[in-house]
């Protein structure tokens, strides 16, 4: 088989497109976890974003309202989580799981009227430049605005956590809420903000699926991507750049295994379909094996409730 250079460009472009929802949701969850809150409701927030985006697009006809509406929906549902875990001091794990179940249920209920409606075409940028550069053309050009945002996000997140004062506050709250509180930081407020931000990013990830990637609404359409995003955060040891790598490997192997099947490579298909999960975990564990660094980047108070009064 002749390997055409543009063919490789096309494959890389589809790998990147499939990595977008994972990057968005993971980077959002990373901020939430860095503030010491474990929100297992990513799948639920994503699916709420997916239905909200699709529903708003169908009803209002405006893509901008739909995208921001989906983020707002993610914020709203994560407010429930924030209220329960921060104000009522409930258990993070149980509340997060409940959020996922709630999200899947309510999205199905809202979505009943939106099944079987085709989505709208989402505008792409620099379409004309696609054929100007071999290999890089299809990789760099002709994508939606959300796509470009997703690939900038890990770098922005990394800069935010390392170089900005607010980033430092977020990390302090996640590592030692007691000390942060003694320094006069409002721990609850910071955690609220980080949870809502995570919700917005999950909502955007869901809207990407229902409005751009596969423009339609069907129940459970996130298909477990929220859980993969959660796993990426942990296996990347809370490092946004490694999230990017992990998401690319995961998306990449999913797509490459389809290509291998189509070419007719004689490897058991079941093994090929399991490959993305296995390899992503192995690679992330290997690149993150420095235990000193893991200790430094793991939010020490992750998942622990903080009572200001005691």
């Amino acid at each position: 088989m002749i390997i055409d250079i543009n063919f490789i460009g096309l494959i890389i472009a589809s790998i990147m497109a499939s990595a977008v929802p994972l990057i968005l949701a993971s980077c959002g969850e990373l901020i939430t976890e860095r503030s010491g809150v474990l929100n297992l409701g990513v799948e639920g927030m994503m699916i709420i974003g997916a239905i909200s985006g699709f529903a708003l697009m169908t009803v209002t006809g405006s893509l901008i309202i739909a995208i921001f509406g989906a983020m707002l929906a993610g914020v709203l549902i994560s407010t429930i989580f924030a209220f329960l875990t921060q104000t009522l001091i409930t258990n993070h794990v149980a509340t997060g799981l409940a959020l996922t179940i709630f999200g899947i249920g309510i999205s199905a209920m809202i979505g009943k009227n939106f099944v079987g409606i085709p989505g709208k075409e989402f505008p792409v940028l620099f379409e004309g430049l696609k054929d100007t550069i071999p290999l890089l053309g299809p990789i760099l050009f002709g994508h939606s605005i959300v796509f470009y945002f997703a690939f900038a996000l890990p770098f922005i997140t990394s800069y935010f956590l390392k170089k900005t004062k607010i980033g430092l506050i977020v990390r302090a709250v996640g590592d030692s809420p007691e000390s942060a509180s003694n320094q006069g930081i409002n721990v609850r407020l910071v955690r609220y903000a980080c949870i809502l931000y995570g919700g917005a990013m999950s909502g955007l990830a869901g809207a990407y699926l229902s409005m751009i990637y596969t423009p339609q609404w069907i129940e459970n359409m996130t298909g477990g991507r929220g859980w993969i995003a959660l796993a990426l955060v942990v296996f990347s040891t809370w490092n946004p750049i490694k999230i990017l790598i992990g998401a690319m490997i995961f998306g990449g192997l999913t797509i490459i295994q389809f290509h291998m099947q189509a070419i007719g490579v004689r490897i058991p298909v079941q093994f090929l379909t399991a490959l993305p999960y296995i390899v992503t975990i192995i690679v992330l564990v290997v690149i993150s094996r420095d235990s000193r660094k893991i200790r430094l980047s793991t939010p020490s108070s992750l998942g622990k409730s903080f009572h200001k009064d005691n």
Binding site: P118, G119, T214, Q216, N220, G223, Q261, A262
Partner: protein, 356 residues
């Protein structure tokens, strides 16, 4: 006080009368058990369209969606049988054993199991559709419309139903165009739009210009639309999702069968049956043919459709060879239902191996 007594007496009479009438005319209640959500716009969605037809015919129905094919299914079935349902439709292959088990406990309730073959008790019937007849039509269209001679096929799971579809599709495509190659990609899901779109994209990137699917979502036809290649709708008419790409769809039409069976229960004429209906009985419906297809192809397809319906043409007419060149169906013969039901080998011309 006096007035009140009279009023309650009258209303009790009315109530009693209603109850008596209800008991005499005995409302038949039908229940449906679904594997997926009714919002999948695919397999379960089409069963639910059938359920609505039963409702429209004047019967009461209930449904339970997203029932796993495990001990949960038994629990749900038992509960439905206990709560006064007269006929229960179980609409996924994996409900086969639970259906038979619960049917034994409730001899007065009728059970209808889709796509299975076990009828261990007199109150269990089975039914399925000959979707492969629809795929014969799709193969004919694909073989004619392809320019690259590479046809992509996104498959779900290696079960006879899917293998049979791949075979009948390929046989039909080869008949009109001996040079075609069918590339198969197994998605190992019935329904995950993202994954299905990625599988279709991989096939398109490798030169396929017609995509067939045996998974349920509309993601594949949308991907085909974006890439400017042809595709076929699955389970329901998917034309509005991809007006340029979709040439036609094979629709699952369960309504008439469901209405028939529920009516039979109401009339007391229900008896055990094994139903396998195709285009001829209207259980498999071919949607409108797209005008992008040349007129002669369209009339050819119309004729093929009529011949499949009348039984003049059979999807599996010999000589058919398997991949190794062994004769499966002799010249002039057609594959019998037993062979079709257990079909787990590819015919000659299909590339690759069936995942084990």
């Amino acid at each position: 006080m006096h007035k009140f007594l009279i009023r309650s007496f009258v209303s009790s009479l009315v109530l009693l009368f209603t109850l008596t009438v209800a008991a005499v005319a005995k409302d038949v209640k039908a229940a449906f058990v679904y594997i997926g959500p009714t919002g999948d716009h695919g397999w379960t969605y089409q069963h639910d369209v059938g359920r609505k037809a039963v409702e429209a015919a004047g019967f009461k129905t209930t449904y339970v969606e997203g029932v796993p094919e495990s001990a949960d299914a038994e629990r749900v079935l038992r509960q439905l049988a206990n709560s006064g349902h007269d006929v229960i439709f179980t609409t996924s292959f994996g409900y086969m054993n639970p259906t038979n088990k619960v049917a034994k406990e409730f001899p007065n309730v009728k059970f209808e199991h889709a796509t299975g073959y076990k009828r261990e008790h007199p109150n269990v019937s089975t039914y399925a559709a000959r979707f492969y007849e629809g795929r014969t039509i799709l193969g004919t269209i694909a073989g004619t419309m392809t320019k690259s001679n590479v046809i992509g096929y996104v498959a779900s799971f290696p079960i006879p139903e899917v293998i049979r579809g791949i075979n009948s599709f390929t046989l039909a495509a080869q008949k009109v165009n001996p040079n075609i190659k069918t590339k198969i990609v197994w998605a190992f899901t019935w329904y995950d739009p993202g994954k299905e779109a990625e599988a279709a994209k991989a096939l398109i990137d490798q030169g396929a210009d017609v995509i067939a699917q045996h998974t349920d979502s509309t993601a594949i036809v949308q991907m085909a639309e974006k890439a400017g290649v042809y595709a076929f709708g699955q389970a329901s008419d998917m034309d509005k999702f991809a007006p340029k790409a979709v040439l036609t769809s094979v629709e699952n039409n369960w309504g008439p069968y469901y209405v028939d069976r529920v009516k039979a229960v109401a009339n007391g004429t229900w008896s055990q049956k094994d139903t396998w209906h195709g285009i001829g009985d209207g259980m498999v419906v071919i949607s409108d043919l797209d005008s992008q297809m040349p007129a002669d192809l369209r009339s050819k397809v119309k004729k093929l459709q009529a011949d499949l319906a009348s039984g003049k043409v059979h999807s599996f007419t010999g000589p058919i060879y398997d991949q190794k060149g062994n004769l499966m169906v002799a010249e002039g013969k057609t594959a019998d239902d037993g062979m079709l039901a257990g079909m787990m080998t590819y015919v000659k011309g299909v590339e690759g191996d069936i995942p084990k």
